[in-house]
Protein backbone atom coordinates (compact mmCIF):
# COMPACT_ATOMS: atom_id res chain seq x y z
CA UNK A 1 0.00 0.00 0.00
CA UNK A 2 1.26 3.48 -0.86
CA UNK A 3 1.90 5.75 2.06
CA UNK A 4 -1.05 7.87 3.21
CA UNK A 5 -0.80 11.00 5.32
CA UNK A 6 -3.25 13.00 7.34
CA UNK A 7 -2.43 16.69 7.33
CA UNK A 8 -3.95 19.17 9.70
CA UNK A 9 -3.52 22.55 8.07
CA UNK A 10 -3.98 25.50 10.42
CA UNK A 11 -3.97 29.24 10.01
CA UNK A 12 -5.33 32.38 11.59
CA UNK A 13 -6.64 33.31 8.14
CA UNK A 14 -9.42 31.06 6.79
CA UNK A 15 -9.03 32.48 3.27
CA UNK A 16 -5.48 31.19 3.09
CA UNK A 17 -6.77 27.69 3.81
CA UNK A 18 -9.57 28.06 1.25
CA UNK A 19 -7.06 29.13 -1.38
CA UNK A 20 -4.73 26.30 -0.52
CA UNK A 21 -7.47 23.72 -0.86
CA UNK A 22 -8.82 25.15 -4.08
CA UNK A 23 -5.48 25.47 -5.81
CA UNK A 24 -4.09 22.10 -4.77
CA UNK A 25 -7.17 19.92 -5.41
CA UNK A 26 -6.81 18.36 -1.97
CA UNK A 27 -8.88 15.58 -0.47
CA UNK A 28 -11.05 17.15 2.22
CA UNK A 29 -14.35 15.35 1.58
CA UNK A 30 -16.34 14.62 4.73
CA UNK A 31 -13.44 15.58 6.99
CA UNK A 32 -15.38 18.25 8.80
CA UNK A 33 -14.53 21.29 6.68
CA UNK A 34 -12.70 24.26 8.10
CA UNK A 35 -13.29 24.55 11.81
CA UNK A 36 -12.29 27.35 14.15
CA UNK A 37 -11.01 27.24 17.68
CA UNK A 38 -9.22 29.90 19.71
CA UNK A 39 -9.09 32.26 16.71
CA UNK A 40 -7.35 29.60 14.63
CA UNK A 41 -8.82 27.81 11.61
CA UNK A 42 -7.91 24.27 10.69
CA UNK A 43 -8.88 21.49 8.33
CA UNK A 44 -8.05 17.80 7.92
CA UNK A 45 -6.58 16.81 4.57
CA UNK A 46 -5.65 13.34 3.30
CA UNK A 47 -2.75 13.07 0.90
CA UNK A 48 -0.18 10.82 -0.71
CA UNK A 49 3.52 11.31 -0.06
CA UNK A 50 3.84 13.18 -3.35
CA UNK A 51 0.94 15.47 -2.49
CA UNK A 52 2.41 16.21 0.93
CA UNK A 53 5.70 17.23 -0.65
CA UNK A 54 3.93 19.38 -3.22
CA UNK A 55 1.89 21.07 -0.52
CA UNK A 56 4.91 21.77 1.66
CA UNK A 57 6.79 23.19 -1.34
CA UNK A 58 3.92 25.46 -2.22
CA UNK A 59 3.65 26.81 1.31
CA UNK A 60 7.39 27.39 1.32
CA UNK A 61 7.49 28.97 -2.14
CA UNK A 62 4.74 31.41 -1.35
CA UNK A 63 6.29 32.45 1.93
CA UNK A 64 3.40 31.10 3.94
CA UNK A 65 5.29 28.97 6.42
CA UNK A 66 4.58 31.44 9.20
CA UNK A 67 0.95 31.79 8.21
CA UNK A 68 -0.02 28.18 7.56
CA UNK A 69 1.14 25.29 9.69
CA UNK A 70 1.02 21.75 8.34
CA UNK A 71 0.93 18.96 10.91
CA UNK A 72 1.56 15.77 8.98
CA UNK A 73 0.90 12.26 10.31
CA UNK A 74 1.71 9.05 8.49
CA UNK A 75 -1.43 6.92 8.87
CA UNK A 76 -0.29 4.07 6.63
CA UNK A 77 0.16 1.63 9.51
CA UNK A 78 -3.22 2.57 10.95
CA UNK A 79 -4.87 1.84 7.62
CA UNK A 80 -2.99 -1.44 7.27
CA UNK A 81 -4.31 -2.49 10.65
CA UNK A 82 -7.85 -1.63 9.59
CA UNK A 83 -7.50 -3.69 6.41
CA UNK A 84 -6.71 -6.65 8.62
CA UNK A 85 -10.06 -6.09 10.33
CA UNK A 86 -12.05 -6.65 7.13
CA UNK A 87 -13.82 -9.98 6.92
CA UNK A 88 -12.57 -12.67 4.60
CA UNK A 89 -14.85 -15.13 2.87
CA UNK A 90 -18.55 -14.68 3.58
CA UNK A 91 -19.74 -15.23 7.14
CA UNK A 92 -23.35 -14.90 6.00
CA UNK A 93 -23.10 -17.45 3.22
CA UNK A 94 -26.18 -19.63 3.53
CA UNK A 95 -29.63 -18.36 4.38
CA UNK A 96 -29.45 -19.55 7.99
CA UNK A 97 -26.68 -17.14 8.94
CA UNK A 98 -28.77 -14.26 10.22
CA UNK A 99 -27.03 -11.06 11.33
CA UNK A 100 -27.55 -9.78 14.84
CA UNK A 101 -27.38 -6.15 15.85
CA UNK A 102 -25.13 -4.84 18.60
CA UNK A 103 -27.97 -3.46 20.70
CA UNK A 104 -28.85 -5.30 23.89
CA UNK A 105 -32.21 -7.00 23.68
CA UNK A 106 -33.88 -7.19 27.07
CA UNK A 107 -36.75 -9.65 27.19
CA UNK A 108 -39.86 -8.46 29.01
Amino acid sequence: MDKVFKITASSENADLLHNLIREQNLDIGCTGGITSKDNKFSIDIYASEKEVTKLQEKVLAEGLTKKISLETTDITDHLSDRLKEVGTGNKYEGANEVPHGLGKKVKQ
Binding site: I21, G33, R82, A95, V106
Partner: protein
Protein backbone atom coordinates in the same frame (compact mmCIF):
# COMPACT_ATOMS: atom_id res chain seq x y z
CA UNK B 1 -17.15 -9.21 14.60
CA UNK B 2 -15.05 -7.34 12.07
CA UNK B 3 -15.78 -4.95 9.21
CA UNK B 4 -17.91 -6.69 6.61
CA UNK B 5 -16.68 -7.12 3.08
CA UNK B 6 -19.04 -6.35 0.20
CA UNK B 7 -20.24 -9.94 -0.25
CA UNK B 8 -21.05 -10.11 3.45
CA UNK B 9 -23.06 -6.88 3.35
CA UNK B 10 -25.22 -8.17 0.50
CA UNK B 11 -25.63 -11.61 2.07
CA UNK B 12 -26.52 -10.05 5.42
CA UNK B 13 -29.34 -7.96 3.98
CA UNK B 14 -30.67 -10.88 1.95
CA UNK B 15 -30.57 -13.17 4.98
CA UNK B 16 -32.36 -10.63 7.16
CA UNK B 17 -35.19 -10.47 4.64
CA UNK B 18 -35.29 -14.26 4.50
CA UNK B 19 -35.33 -14.66 8.28
CA UNK B 20 -38.18 -12.19 8.81
CA UNK B 21 -40.39 -12.68 5.73
CA UNK B 22 -43.50 -11.18 7.34
CA UNK B 23 -41.68 -8.01 8.30
CA UNK B 24 -39.35 -7.51 5.35
CA UNK B 25 -39.39 -7.03 1.63
CA UNK B 26 -36.08 -7.68 -0.12
CA UNK B 27 -35.49 -5.01 -2.75
CA UNK B 28 -33.15 -5.73 -5.63
CA UNK B 29 -31.91 -2.45 -7.04
CA UNK B 30 -32.42 -2.25 -10.81
CA UNK B 31 -28.96 -1.18 -11.94
CA UNK B 32 -25.73 -3.08 -11.63
CA UNK B 33 -22.62 -1.16 -10.71
CA UNK B 34 -19.76 -0.56 -13.16
CA UNK B 35 -18.08 -3.74 -11.93
CA UNK B 36 -21.28 -5.74 -12.32
CA UNK B 37 -22.45 -5.93 -8.71
CA UNK B 38 -26.13 -6.14 -7.87
CA UNK B 39 -27.21 -4.17 -4.80
CA UNK B 40 -29.96 -4.94 -2.33
CA UNK B 41 -32.03 -3.03 0.14
CA UNK B 42 -34.68 -4.15 2.58
CA UNK B 43 -38.02 -2.59 3.45
CA UNK B 44 -38.95 -3.21 7.08
CA UNK B 45 -42.45 -2.79 8.47
CA UNK B 46 -45.72 -4.64 8.91
CA UNK B 47 -47.66 -2.26 6.70
CA UNK B 48 -47.43 -2.25 2.94
CA UNK B 49 -45.53 0.47 1.13
CA UNK B 50 -48.72 2.36 0.33
CA UNK B 51 -50.20 2.20 3.84
CA UNK B 52 -47.76 4.34 5.78
CA UNK B 53 -44.92 6.82 5.56
CA UNK B 54 -41.40 5.66 5.02
CA UNK B 55 -37.85 6.51 6.07
CA UNK B 56 -34.99 5.78 3.68
CA UNK B 57 -31.51 5.11 5.07
CA UNK B 58 -28.48 4.81 2.85
CA UNK B 59 -24.95 3.81 3.77
CA UNK B 60 -21.70 3.10 1.99
CA UNK B 61 -22.04 6.00 -0.45
CA UNK B 62 -18.44 7.00 0.13
CA UNK B 63 -16.28 3.93 -0.13
CA UNK B 64 -13.87 4.66 2.71
CA UNK B 65 -16.55 5.31 5.31
CA UNK B 66 -16.78 1.62 6.05
CA UNK B 67 -18.82 1.59 9.24
CA UNK B 68 -21.88 3.14 7.61
CA UNK B 69 -22.85 -0.26 6.19
CA UNK B 70 -22.49 -1.95 9.56
CA UNK B 71 -24.60 0.76 11.21
CA UNK B 72 -27.39 0.11 8.72
CA UNK B 73 -27.26 -3.65 9.16
CA UNK B 74 -27.00 -3.62 12.94
CA UNK B 75 -29.90 -1.19 13.19
CA UNK B 76 -32.08 -3.34 10.92
CA UNK B 77 -31.20 -6.54 12.77
CA UNK B 78 -31.84 -4.93 16.17
CA UNK B 79 -35.30 -3.69 15.23
CA UNK B 80 -36.36 -7.04 13.79
CA UNK B 81 -34.99 -9.16 16.61
CA UNK B 82 -36.38 -6.91 19.34
CA UNK B 83 -39.79 -6.92 17.67
CA UNK B 84 -40.15 -10.68 17.25
CA UNK B 85 -38.91 -11.37 20.78
CA UNK B 86 -40.98 -8.55 22.31
CA UNK B 87 -37.80 -7.19 23.85
CA UNK B 88 -36.76 -3.70 24.74
CA UNK B 89 -33.65 -2.41 23.04
CA UNK B 90 -30.74 -0.91 24.91
CA UNK B 91 -27.83 1.13 23.58
CA UNK B 92 -25.61 2.03 26.52
CA UNK B 93 -27.63 4.40 28.66
CA UNK B 94 -30.49 4.67 26.20
CA UNK B 95 -33.40 2.24 26.45
CA UNK B 96 -36.28 1.83 24.04
CA UNK B 97 -39.28 -0.07 25.32
CA UNK B 98 -40.80 -3.04 23.53
CA UNK B 99 -43.84 -0.85 22.90
CA UNK B 100 -41.74 1.71 21.13
CA UNK B 101 -40.12 -0.93 18.93
CA UNK B 102 -43.56 -2.36 18.20
CA UNK B 103 -44.79 1.08 17.29
CA UNK B 104 -42.01 1.56 14.77
CA UNK B 105 -42.45 -1.81 13.09
CA UNK B 106 -46.23 -1.56 12.98
CA UNK B 107 -46.61 2.07 11.94
CA UNK B 108 -43.68 2.90 9.71
CA UNK B 109 -41.79 1.58 6.74
CA UNK B 110 -38.02 1.80 6.85
CA UNK B 111 -35.99 1.13 3.72
CA UNK B 112 -32.38 0.33 4.43
CA UNK B 113 -29.91 0.40 1.55
CA UNK B 114 -26.65 -0.39 3.37
CA UNK B 115 -24.10 -0.28 0.57
CA UNK B 116 -24.85 2.12 -2.26
CA UNK B 117 -21.30 1.95 -3.64
CA UNK B 118 -20.05 -1.65 -3.31
CA UNK B 119 -17.40 -1.30 -6.02
CA UNK B 120 -15.83 1.57 -4.15
CA UNK B 121 -16.03 -0.27 -0.82
CA UNK B 122 -14.33 -3.30 -2.30
CA UNK B 123 -11.54 -1.13 -3.69
CA UNK B 124 -11.15 0.64 -0.37
CA UNK B 125 -11.11 -2.61 1.61
CA UNK B 126 -8.59 -4.38 -0.63
CA UNK B 127 -6.33 -1.86 -2.33
CA UNK B 128 -6.73 1.81 -1.40
CA UNK B 129 -8.30 2.39 2.05
CA UNK B 130 -8.83 6.10 1.43
CA UNK B 131 -10.81 5.59 -1.78
CA UNK B 132 -13.99 7.71 -1.74
CA UNK B 133 -15.65 7.55 -5.16
CA UNK B 134 -17.27 4.84 -7.25
CA UNK B 135 -15.30 2.75 -9.77
CA UNK B 136 -16.47 4.23 -13.03
CA UNK B 137 -13.68 2.99 -15.37
CA UNK B 138 -13.75 6.19 -17.42
CA UNK B 139 -13.56 8.57 -14.50
CA UNK B 140 -14.62 7.63 -10.99
CA UNK B 141 -17.34 9.86 -9.58
CA UNK B 142 -18.21 11.14 -6.12
CA UNK B 143 -21.70 9.69 -5.76
CA UNK B 144 -22.70 12.42 -3.33
CA UNK B 145 -22.05 15.18 -5.88
CA UNK B 146 -23.88 13.45 -8.73
CA UNK B 147 -27.51 14.17 -7.78
CA UNK B 148 -29.61 16.62 -9.73
CA UNK B 149 -29.54 19.53 -7.33
CA UNK B 150 -27.62 22.60 -8.52
CA UNK B 151 -25.37 20.02 -10.16
CA UNK B 152 -23.95 22.47 -12.72
CA UNK B 153 -22.20 24.40 -10.00
CA UNK B 154 -19.83 26.50 -12.19
CA UNK B 155 -22.90 28.20 -13.64
CA UNK B 156 -25.14 28.17 -10.58
CA UNK B 157 -22.86 29.42 -7.79
CA UNK B 158 -20.81 32.53 -7.23
CA UNK B 159 -17.30 32.21 -8.73
CA UNK B 160 -16.02 33.07 -5.24
CA UNK B 161 -17.93 30.31 -3.49
CA UNK B 162 -15.79 27.58 -1.95
CA UNK B 163 -18.09 24.81 -3.12
CA UNK B 164 -16.62 21.41 -2.29
CA UNK B 165 -17.20 19.77 -5.68
CA UNK B 166 -15.19 19.60 -8.86
CA UNK B 167 -15.37 19.24 -12.65
CA UNK B 168 -11.90 17.71 -12.55
CA UNK B 169 -12.15 13.92 -12.98
CA UNK B 170 -9.06 13.41 -10.82
CA UNK B 171 -10.65 15.22 -7.90
CA UNK B 172 -12.07 13.25 -4.97
CA UNK B 173 -15.25 15.30 -5.30
CA UNK B 174 -15.66 14.99 -9.08
CA UNK B 175 -19.37 15.38 -9.84
CA UNK B 176 -19.47 13.23 -12.98
CA UNK B 177 -20.33 14.05 -16.59
CA UNK B 178 -24.01 14.75 -15.90
CA UNK B 179 -26.52 14.51 -13.06
CA UNK B 180 -27.44 10.92 -12.27
CA UNK B 181 -24.78 9.67 -14.66
CA UNK B 182 -23.89 6.85 -12.26
CA UNK B 183 -25.75 3.61 -11.61
CA UNK B 184 -25.32 4.08 -7.87
CA UNK B 185 -27.13 7.43 -7.83
CA UNK B 186 -29.80 6.13 -10.19
CA UNK B 187 -30.46 3.24 -7.82
CA UNK B 188 -31.20 5.71 -5.02
CA UNK B 189 -33.31 7.77 -7.41
CA UNK B 190 -35.25 4.62 -8.25
CA UNK B 191 -36.05 4.13 -4.55
CA UNK B 192 -37.37 7.69 -4.26
CA UNK B 193 -39.61 7.12 -7.29
CA UNK B 194 -40.68 3.59 -6.45
CA UNK B 195 -41.59 4.39 -2.86
CA UNK B 196 -43.50 7.67 -3.03
CA UNK B 197 -44.27 7.62 0.68
CA UNK B 198 -40.65 8.21 1.61
CA UNK B 199 -40.87 11.34 3.74
CA UNK B 200 -37.51 11.27 5.47
CA UNK B 201 -34.09 10.43 4.16
CA UNK B 202 -30.91 9.87 6.17
CA UNK B 203 -27.61 9.44 4.37
CA UNK B 204 -25.03 7.92 6.71
CA UNK B 205 -21.48 9.20 6.31
CA UNK B 206 -18.27 9.71 8.24
CA UNK B 207 -16.75 11.73 9.85
CA UNK B 208 -16.87 14.76 12.21
CA UNK B 209 -19.69 13.90 14.65
CA UNK B 210 -22.22 16.07 12.87
CA UNK B 211 -25.97 15.87 12.28
CA UNK B 212 -26.70 17.88 9.16
CA UNK B 213 -29.98 19.04 7.68
CA UNK B 214 -30.99 20.90 4.47
CA UNK B 215 -29.77 23.00 2.71
CA UNK B 216 -26.16 22.62 1.62
CA UNK B 217 -25.88 25.33 -1.04
CA UNK B 218 -26.33 28.47 1.07
CA UNK B 219 -27.60 29.68 4.42
CA UNK B 220 -31.26 29.03 5.20
CA UNK B 221 -33.91 31.72 5.32
CA UNK B 222 -37.69 31.52 5.75
CA UNK B 223 -38.82 34.97 4.65
CA UNK B 224 -38.36 35.22 0.87
CA UNK B 225 -39.74 32.27 -1.11
CA UNK B 226 -38.56 33.78 -4.39
CA UNK B 227 -34.94 33.44 -3.34
CA UNK B 228 -34.54 29.76 -4.11
CA UNK B 229 -32.43 27.31 -6.05
CA UNK B 230 -34.77 27.43 -9.07
CA UNK B 231 -34.43 31.18 -9.49
CA UNK B 232 -31.76 31.78 -12.14
CA UNK B 233 -31.39 35.44 -11.24
CA UNK B 234 -29.29 34.34 -8.27
CA UNK B 235 -26.99 32.06 -10.21
CA UNK B 236 -23.93 34.25 -9.85
CA UNK B 237 -24.24 34.91 -6.13
CA UNK B 238 -25.07 31.55 -4.58
CA UNK B 239 -22.88 29.87 -1.96
CA UNK B 240 -21.23 32.74 -0.09
CA UNK B 241 -21.54 32.55 3.71
CA UNK B 242 -22.54 35.59 5.69
CA UNK B 243 -23.86 37.70 2.84
CA UNK B 244 -27.40 38.81 1.99
CA UNK B 245 -27.12 38.49 -1.79
CA UNK B 246 -28.46 34.97 -1.62
CA UNK B 247 -29.81 32.66 1.03
CA UNK B 248 -31.82 29.51 0.37
CA UNK B 249 -35.52 29.44 1.16
CA UNK B 250 -36.92 26.84 3.51
CA UNK B 251 -40.39 27.19 5.06
CA UNK B 252 -40.21 27.89 8.78
CA UNK B 253 -42.24 24.78 9.65
CA UNK B 254 -39.92 22.58 7.63
CA UNK B 255 -36.89 24.08 9.28
CA UNK B 256 -38.40 23.63 12.73
CA UNK B 257 -39.17 20.01 11.96
CA UNK B 258 -35.69 19.26 10.65
CA UNK B 259 -33.90 20.96 13.53
CA UNK B 260 -36.17 19.22 16.01
CA UNK B 261 -35.53 15.78 14.54
CA UNK B 262 -31.79 16.40 14.45
CA UNK B 263 -31.83 17.56 18.07
CA UNK B 264 -33.75 14.47 19.08
CA UNK B 265 -31.06 12.36 17.43
CA UNK B 266 -28.35 14.29 19.22
CA UNK B 267 -30.02 13.82 22.60
CA UNK B 268 -30.35 10.14 21.89
CA UNK B 269 -26.65 9.85 21.02
CA UNK B 270 -25.70 11.67 24.22
CA UNK B 271 -27.77 9.24 26.24
CA UNK B 272 -25.74 6.25 25.02
CA UNK B 273 -22.29 7.22 26.37
CA UNK B 274 -22.20 11.00 26.50
CA UNK B 275 -20.89 11.83 23.02
CA UNK B 276 -22.34 15.14 21.81
CA UNK B 277 -22.78 15.56 18.07
CA UNK B 278 -23.17 19.01 16.54
CA UNK B 279 -26.50 19.77 14.90
CA UNK B 280 -26.03 22.18 12.01
CA UNK B 281 -27.21 23.10 8.56
CA UNK B 282 -25.31 21.20 5.87
CA UNK B 283 -24.04 24.50 4.46
CA UNK B 284 -22.22 25.17 7.73
CA UNK B 285 -19.90 22.26 6.93
CA UNK B 286 -19.11 23.67 3.50
CA UNK B 287 -21.11 24.69 0.41
CA UNK B 288 -22.09 21.73 -1.75
CA UNK B 289 -23.94 20.90 -4.92
CA UNK B 290 -25.36 17.64 -6.20
CA UNK B 291 -25.80 16.03 -2.79
CA UNK B 292 -28.32 13.36 -1.95
CA UNK B 293 -30.17 15.09 0.87
CA UNK B 294 -30.64 18.36 -1.00
CA UNK B 295 -31.87 16.48 -4.06
CA UNK B 296 -34.33 14.57 -1.87
CA UNK B 297 -35.72 17.73 -0.29
CA UNK B 298 -35.75 19.66 -3.59
CA UNK B 299 -37.96 17.13 -5.38
CA UNK B 300 -41.12 18.55 -3.88
CA UNK B 301 -40.22 22.00 -5.22
CA UNK B 302 -39.21 20.94 -8.71
CA UNK B 303 -42.05 18.39 -8.95
CA UNK B 304 -44.85 19.36 -6.57
CA UNK B 305 -46.64 16.08 -7.25
CA UNK B 306 -43.83 14.28 -5.47
CA UNK B 307 -43.99 14.12 -1.70
CA UNK B 308 -41.81 16.24 0.52
CA UNK B 309 -38.73 14.43 1.80
CA UNK B 310 -36.75 15.88 4.69
CA UNK B 311 -33.05 15.21 4.30
CA UNK B 312 -30.37 14.50 6.90
CA UNK B 313 -26.74 13.49 6.81
CA UNK B 314 -25.10 11.80 9.76
CA UNK B 315 -21.34 12.20 9.88
CA UNK B 316 -20.40 9.65 12.51
CA UNK B 317 -17.12 9.33 14.39
CA UNK B 318 -13.80 11.16 14.21
CA UNK B 319 -12.05 9.12 11.52
CA UNK B 320 -13.07 7.16 8.45
CA UNK B 321 -11.97 3.78 9.73
CA UNK B 322 -11.75 3.61 13.50
CA UNK B 323 -10.52 0.40 15.11
CA UNK B 324 -13.41 -2.04 15.13
CA UNK B 325 -13.66 -1.88 18.91
CA UNK B 326 -14.49 1.84 18.64
CA UNK B 327 -16.71 1.27 15.63
CA UNK B 328 -18.89 -0.94 17.80
CA UNK B 329 -19.45 1.98 20.15
CA UNK B 330 -20.28 4.26 17.25
CA UNK B 331 -22.81 1.74 15.96
CA UNK B 332 -24.57 1.95 19.33
CA UNK B 333 -24.52 5.78 19.23
CA UNK B 334 -25.99 6.02 15.76
CA UNK B 335 -28.46 3.17 16.20
CA UNK B 336 -29.86 5.01 19.19
CA UNK B 337 -30.24 8.13 17.06
CA UNK B 338 -31.98 6.17 14.32
CA UNK B 339 -34.49 4.51 16.64
CA UNK B 340 -35.29 7.89 18.16
CA UNK B 341 -35.65 9.37 14.70
CA UNK B 342 -38.17 6.68 13.78
CA UNK B 343 -40.19 7.42 16.89
CA UNK B 344 -40.09 11.17 16.43
CA UNK B 345 -41.07 11.22 12.77
CA UNK B 346 -44.42 9.79 13.72
CA UNK B 347 -44.73 12.14 16.64
CA UNK B 348 -46.10 14.99 14.61
CA UNK B 349 -49.29 16.70 15.66
CA UNK B 350 -50.02 18.45 18.90
CA UNK B 351 -49.05 17.69 22.45
CA UNK B 352 -52.57 17.40 23.80
CA UNK B 353 -51.93 15.80 27.18
CA UNK B 354 -49.09 16.20 29.62
CA UNK B 355 -48.94 14.06 32.73
CA UNK B 356 -46.59 15.19 35.49
CA UNK B 357 -45.81 13.04 38.52
CA UNK B 358 -43.83 14.61 41.32
CA UNK B 359 -42.69 12.79 44.41
CA UNK B 360 -41.94 15.02 47.38
CA UNK B 361 -39.25 13.68 49.69
CA UNK B 362 -40.16 11.79 52.84
CA UNK B 363 -38.07 13.97 55.14
CA UNK B 364 -38.83 16.51 57.85
CA UNK B 365 -40.02 19.81 56.37
CA UNK B 366 -39.89 18.33 52.86
CA UNK B 367 -43.26 19.76 51.81
CA UNK B 368 -44.08 23.23 50.58
CA UNK B 369 -46.95 25.61 49.99
CA UNK B 370 -44.96 27.39 47.31
CA UNK B 371 -45.77 27.45 43.61
CA UNK B 372 -44.38 24.87 41.20
CA UNK B 373 -44.19 25.27 37.43
CA UNK B 374 -43.44 22.89 34.60
CA UNK B 375 -41.45 24.33 31.72
CA UNK B 376 -41.91 22.48 28.46
CA UNK B 377 -42.25 23.26 24.78
CA UNK B 378 -40.98 26.79 25.32
CA UNK B 379 -43.57 27.82 27.92
CA UNK B 380 -44.58 27.21 31.53
CA UNK B 381 -47.59 25.61 33.22
CA UNK B 382 -48.50 26.10 36.87
CA UNK B 383 -48.90 22.76 38.62
CA UNK B 384 -51.82 23.42 40.86
CA UNK B 385 -54.82 21.22 41.63
CA UNK B 386 -57.42 21.17 44.36
CA UNK B 387 -56.40 19.93 47.80
CA UNK B 388 -52.97 19.70 49.33
CA UNK B 389 -50.02 19.03 47.14
CA UNK B 390 -46.24 18.81 47.43
CA UNK B 391 -46.60 17.42 50.94
CA UNK B 392 -43.99 15.26 52.67
CA UNK B 393 -43.76 11.77 51.12
CA UNK B 394 -46.61 12.26 48.65
CA UNK B 395 -46.71 11.69 44.92
CA UNK B 396 -48.83 14.27 43.09
CA UNK B 397 -50.12 13.78 39.59
CA UNK B 398 -51.01 16.77 37.41
CA UNK B 399 -52.67 16.46 34.04
CA UNK B 400 -52.52 19.30 31.56
CA UNK B 401 -54.64 19.19 28.42
CA UNK B 402 -57.10 16.34 27.87
CA UNK B 403 -58.53 15.17 31.19
CA UNK B 404 -56.91 18.09 32.96
CA UNK B 405 -57.04 18.12 36.77
CA UNK B 406 -55.33 21.43 37.25
CA UNK B 407 -57.20 24.46 38.50
CA UNK B 408 -58.47 27.22 36.26
CA UNK B 409 -59.25 24.81 33.43
CA UNK B 410 -61.76 25.81 30.76
CA UNK B 411 -65.00 24.01 29.88
CA UNK B 412 -63.10 21.47 27.83
CA UNK B 413 -60.90 20.55 30.73
CA UNK B 414 -58.01 22.52 29.31
CA UNK B 415 -56.10 25.12 31.27
CA UNK B 416 -57.28 28.68 30.82
CA UNK B 417 -54.94 31.27 29.38
CA UNK B 418 -52.88 28.66 27.69
CA UNK B 419 -52.48 27.63 24.11
CA UNK B 420 -54.43 24.48 24.95
CA UNK B 421 -57.67 25.89 23.58
CA UNK B 422 -60.31 24.00 21.71
CA UNK B 423 -59.70 24.03 17.95
CA UNK B 424 -56.54 26.04 18.29
CA UNK B 425 -52.96 24.98 17.90
CA UNK B 426 -51.27 23.75 21.03
CA UNK B 427 -47.63 22.86 21.43
CA UNK B 428 -46.40 21.14 18.27
CA UNK B 429 -45.33 17.73 19.51
CA UNK B 430 -42.20 17.64 17.45
CA UNK B 431 -40.90 20.84 19.01
CA UNK B 432 -41.14 19.55 22.57
CA UNK B 433 -37.54 18.38 22.53
CA UNK B 434 -36.30 21.67 21.11
CA UNK B 435 -36.76 23.53 24.39
CA UNK B 436 -35.49 22.50 27.80
CA UNK B 437 -37.93 20.74 30.10
CA UNK B 438 -37.68 21.75 33.75
CA UNK B 439 -39.41 22.20 37.09
CA UNK B 440 -39.30 25.69 38.60
CA UNK B 441 -40.07 26.36 42.24
CA UNK B 442 -41.37 29.64 43.59
CA UNK B 443 -41.12 29.52 47.42
CA UNK B 444 -43.95 30.99 49.51
CA UNK B 445 -41.36 32.86 51.61
CA UNK B 446 -37.63 33.16 51.95
CA UNK B 447 -37.45 30.22 54.37
CA UNK B 448 -39.62 27.89 52.30
CA UNK B 449 -37.68 24.91 50.97
CA UNK B 450 -39.04 21.93 49.06
CA UNK B 451 -37.46 18.50 48.91
CA UNK B 452 -37.93 16.75 45.55
CA UNK B 453 -37.48 13.03 45.24
CA UNK B 454 -38.53 12.30 41.70
CA UNK B 455 -40.11 13.98 38.69
CA UNK B 456 -41.63 12.23 35.72
CA UNK B 457 -43.29 13.92 32.76
CA UNK B 458 -45.05 12.22 29.88
CA UNK B 459 -46.18 14.14 26.82
CA UNK B 460 -48.64 12.53 24.49
CA UNK B 461 -49.26 13.60 20.92
CA UNK B 462 -52.75 14.26 19.58
CA UNK B 463 -52.24 11.38 17.17
CA UNK B 464 -51.90 9.08 20.14
CA UNK B 465 -48.51 7.96 18.97
CA UNK B 466 -45.90 6.93 19.63
CA UNK B 467 -47.13 4.47 22.19
CA UNK B 468 -46.12 5.89 25.53
CA UNK B 469 -45.42 9.37 24.19
CA UNK B 470 -42.31 11.33 25.03
CA UNK B 471 -40.89 11.11 28.52
CA UNK B 472 -38.80 13.36 30.69
CA UNK B 473 -37.49 12.60 34.10
CA UNK B 474 -35.30 13.94 36.87
CA UNK B 475 -33.22 12.53 39.65
CA UNK B 476 -33.38 8.83 39.05
CA UNK B 477 -30.02 8.47 40.75
CA UNK B 478 -31.40 9.87 43.95
CA UNK B 479 -33.53 6.81 44.36
CA UNK B 480 -30.29 4.93 44.79
CA UNK B 481 -28.44 7.49 46.82
CA UNK B 482 -31.41 8.53 48.93
CA UNK B 483 -30.19 12.05 48.46
CA UNK B 484 -33.08 14.13 47.25
CA UNK B 485 -32.86 17.65 45.91
CA UNK B 486 -33.71 20.65 48.05
CA UNK B 487 -35.11 23.65 46.21
CA UNK B 488 -35.39 27.11 47.70
CA UNK B 489 -34.05 30.61 47.52
CA UNK B 490 -30.71 29.48 48.88
CA UNK B 491 -30.64 26.03 47.28
CA UNK B 492 -31.68 26.98 43.77
CA UNK B 493 -35.06 26.97 42.07
CA UNK B 494 -34.76 24.76 38.98
CA UNK B 495 -34.56 21.10 38.15
CA UNK B 496 -33.75 20.36 34.54
CA UNK B 497 -35.29 17.18 33.19
CA UNK B 498 -33.71 14.62 30.90
CA UNK B 499 -35.57 13.05 28.01
CA UNK B 500 -35.88 9.30 27.92
CA UNK B 501 -38.17 6.37 28.45
CA UNK B 502 -36.60 4.98 31.59
CA UNK B 503 -39.61 5.41 33.81
CA UNK B 504 -42.40 4.76 31.35
Amino acid sequence: MVYLNVQEVESAIINLATAYPYLCELITLPLQTHEGRTSHAVRIGKKTKTECDCILLTGGVHAREWGSCEICLSFAADLLEAYVTNASLQYGGKVFSNNQIRFIIENLNIIIFPDVNPDGRNHSQTIAPMWRKNRNPTAPVDINRNYDFLWDFPNLFSPSANVVVSTNPSSDVYHGPSPFSEPETRNVLWLFDEFPRIRWYIDIHSYSQLLLYNWGDDENQSTDPTMNFRNSSFNSVRGIPGDTAYTEYIPADDLTSEVSLANHMDNSIIAVRGINYIVEQAFDLYPTSGTSIDYAYSRNYTHPSKGKIFGFTIEWGTQFQPPWSEMENIILDISSALVTFCLETESEGIADRIVVKIQTGDKPDAGTNGKVYLGIGGREFRLNKSGNQFQKGNEDEFIIGLGSNILKADKNGLPLNSTFQDNSPEIPFNTIGVYPAYIRFEPSNSNDEWNVDKVYVNVRSSTGIPAGGLDFYGYILNEINDDNIWLGEDSGLFINLRSGACLS
